[in-house]
Subunit: 307 residues, 2 copies
Amino acid sequence: MNEIKIFSPATVANVACGFDVLGFCLDSIGDYMVIRKTTEKGIKITKIEGFDLPYETEKNVAGVSAQALYNDLRPECGFEIEIHKKIKPGSGIGSSAASASGSVYGINELLGRPYDKTQLTYFAMQGEAIASQCEHADNLAPGIFGGFTLVKSTKPLNILSLPTPSDLFATLIHPQIEVKTVDSRAVLPKEVPLENAITQWANVGSLIHAFHTSNYELIRESLIDVIIEPHRKKLIPHFDDVKANTLRAGALGCAISGSGPSIFALCKGLETAKQVEKAMHNVYSKSGIAFETYVSKINIEGIKTVK
Amino acid sequence: MNEIKIFSPATVANVACGFDVLGFCLDSIGDYMVIRKTTEKGIKITKIEGFDLPYETEKNVAGVSAQALYNDLRPECGFEIEIHKKIKPGSGIGSSAASASGSVYGINELLGRPYDKTQLTYFAMQGEAIASQCEHADNLAPGIFGGFTLVKSTKPLNILSLPTPSDLFATLIHPQIEVKTVDSRAVLPKEVPLENAITQWANVGSLIHAFHTSNYELIRESLIDVIIEPHRKKLIPHFDDVKANTLRAGALGCAISGSGPSIFALCKGLETAKQVEKAMHNVYSKSGIAFETYVSKINIEGIKTVK
């Protein structure tokens, strides 16, 4: 095999209570990438469609992660990467993570899988770092492992693949505004009340338990973020309205996707997820802000080869 | 049935990373209580052995919780309570919780179980409150439910019964010193670094996942408390030594039991648990401080009727 086409899906990080550690993988939106073996050594980005991103390997997220794997393995060949970008950078659904993990996934497949998923995440983190100025894996892990993941630690990298209740769907709205990473970080406190931290780890624990027991009511009770959301929601117009209306429409929970501006809801059943999409639509169609919405099953497969 | 004898076991709250929410139930130490139906209405404490505790219903933890249940149900009879106390008050292994939950468990049994376990915990919290000046359930839940429990919230009371890996044992050391509740609270910060809180909820999440998957290595990696232990360990002589030596002896983790002074370790297998007991013994036998040690399987049954 000298060429592979892959689908690298969008992902939702944080998942309400699990700031910096939880994430899940979407199905209905993602990038396509073509990776090709070349006799010439090295990593080259040969095509970028969809958004204006740098072609220089060392400035491109997909290039940097591919180069990290390449430097580790030192294969006899080189690789070309084509990126057909569908996930808008800065949307809060793991655009850079899809690029960073897609290139290493594709190269690993072409070479007969010398690396495991945790190692691929490690390489992808090098790419993600140039996009977000820090090494984190909460959007990478769900793409590479599929389903829900918990990044237990990054040093050493320890990723847990969590069970996904079968009837869980996600609904998203992506308001077409820019929330600068620097702003979404700046609003976060360095210290948090112990009392709130306790509430948060009770929710993380119960959410994991709920996934293992397919307890949808417990998922509902656990998708609560008392630490981050109160600060970051100010950066997202109509957040409270969207949340209130999605919950009223039957969503199990609704919170900021990553650092925003996208907002996600988790729902039991496709029908509810579609009702929730309507509710999001209703709020934003009055706002004058352009937006996109998506309904997606939870993608338990993660990044995959396509034809 | 007019009389019941029950065993109300000791419990370990917090379980390293799960401050205020996690707990588990012991088997080899606990109080015995006899509850007897009487024609005279009301709740009476008729006998207390082992430790010097108040006989007045409204001042006795077991009395207050029993009275709370009694006031709610208003039965036609009354109850006498005998307490054969084995768990030393102030030991950090749920002495007051054993009293508070034992009386309501026994009365509920005699009346044909009108209440479920969560309701019993609610009544027991009223008793626990007079011992610890706040309503909490992290020692009550494991006694009443058995095994490992997560108190997701107290308002409303929501307790999750977690799976217990079958080869898990606990080893405890109880140094015979007094750590005043007021001191163990005073050393805790009101605010904690967000970074540490994230580490803590990653550990809580991974511990719950580890219980569900019987992953002992992950239990080992998750039994880490970066929030409370650094402050409270100063109140417990030789804590660092005990911890280092139990880990060297093979313990999966070692941390403060409740607010101390007891220290617990979790171990895979009885043999390791016994080695860990020796390690604890070695440290404290040189200290000049009197102590007791215990090895116990995790008690998945909780409080029970005995003959």
